[in-house]
Symmetry: C2
Subunit: 217 residues, 2 copies
Amino acid sequence: MSEPRFQAVVADDHAIVRSGLRAALESPGLVEPAGIKVVAEAADGLSAIAAIRQNRPSLLLLDVQMPLAGGLEVLIEARRWSPETRVVVLSGVTSPGKIGELVSCGVDGLFSKGEDNDELFGALPGILRGRRHVAEVFRRMLEEAPAVPALSERERQVLNLVVAGRSNKEMAQVLGISAKTVDRHRTNLMQKLDVHSVAQLIAYALREGLIAPTSGL
Amino acid sequence: MSEPRFQAVVADDHAIVRSGLRAALESPGLVEPAGIKVVAEAADGLSAIAAIRQNRPSLLLLDVQMPLAGGLEVLIEARRWSPETRVVVLSGVTSPGKIGELVSCGVDGLFSKGEDNDELFGALPGILRGRRHVAEVFRRMLEEAPAVPALSERERQVLNLVVAGRSNKEMAQVLGISAKTVDRHRTNLMQKLDVHSVAQLIAYALREGLIAPTSGL
DNA sequence: TTCAGGATGGGGTGAATCCCCCAATCCACC
DNA sequence: GGTGGATTGGGGGATTCACCCCATCCTGAA
């Protein structure tokens, strides 16, 4: 029995997913006779980064949505501390915005949790040899999806506050600008995103994952 | 080697979770020497119900959030078509409202995906013998959480439309009532939920899972 | 049978919204 | 040096929202 040459770190906030991935990766014959050895698991973004720095594995299997740090942040940190690690992201929700960001940040693999795992495990050997693979679903999504307009820093701040339920006046106070300017940003925002009410604005923001979901009432 | 006496159906929209649960359930020694046989998997609520009707298993392992039918609907249908099936629900998100509903509908087991699986698998033998087990996290949550005010049917409809970004006038048209009445419901809604703006209303609704997240812009 | 509560509407008021108009500053880019 | 974008701010107006007041109708529980 040969030694596994590849090591992997698995990061997901659900213990069941981690054990499922571990079982699949370590099953013999996937990439090489001995399978891929999972050297560490992480339940949140920060421990994932720590695990990467410590182990510098060949592969990182990573959920997009995690506590403490999202998939994108982990990807960037992983690139910084362990450039040779192939990073494969699993996405539960499918927001065109996030997917686009991940692709443009250069993930090595991008797969959907909803679909069959065959595409993932079929592509893994190639990915470990340096290829890239974005799941069929996401490739179609990126082609069809209307590009999400780029938001300026201020607009993003305003959007966050709107989602948090603040009024123009409150936002003006928080941001230290005139209420009229807040209104201006809000108007531009709604024009950019092609919505026509706070409710639609919030719906859009949450759907696209444009804002941090840590909105304290 | 003894035959497995228990059969299970596993329902989750993520293939990885299903295979992880299958592996764990079928591992020998969990409940009895041969483990629990997973006779069917389902990726959405309707197939879960179909699988229950067809197999009438001893155990149903069920995700709360699924396409086509949620965990609660599947629970109710499972009770109807196969009352002897023990229903165990796994919850990814932790909204006090949904948890309370599930408990009051009489789930046999309720566990969090985020926590360790030890509590689940430790409690499984008891559950199969007729006991009930609600995860520690959720029991504390139900004690501490401020009771979610009961919403009337109309109020729930209005809430859905508000989240979908409709104006009072549009809602009036959809519901076939006066815009003034819509406003009345909306006012009552905000008073009940102790919020003071659309944004907070939407935030509350999404947080508590009071509404279906299938809001088409 | 009374009575509470839900659903239905109308009137009205003050605030906030959505969206036009206008202008100034700053800063990066060609 | 010009050009465009982001950010800042003001005026104004039509609409909507948030929240009071009032009433009627109906259903189910006490």
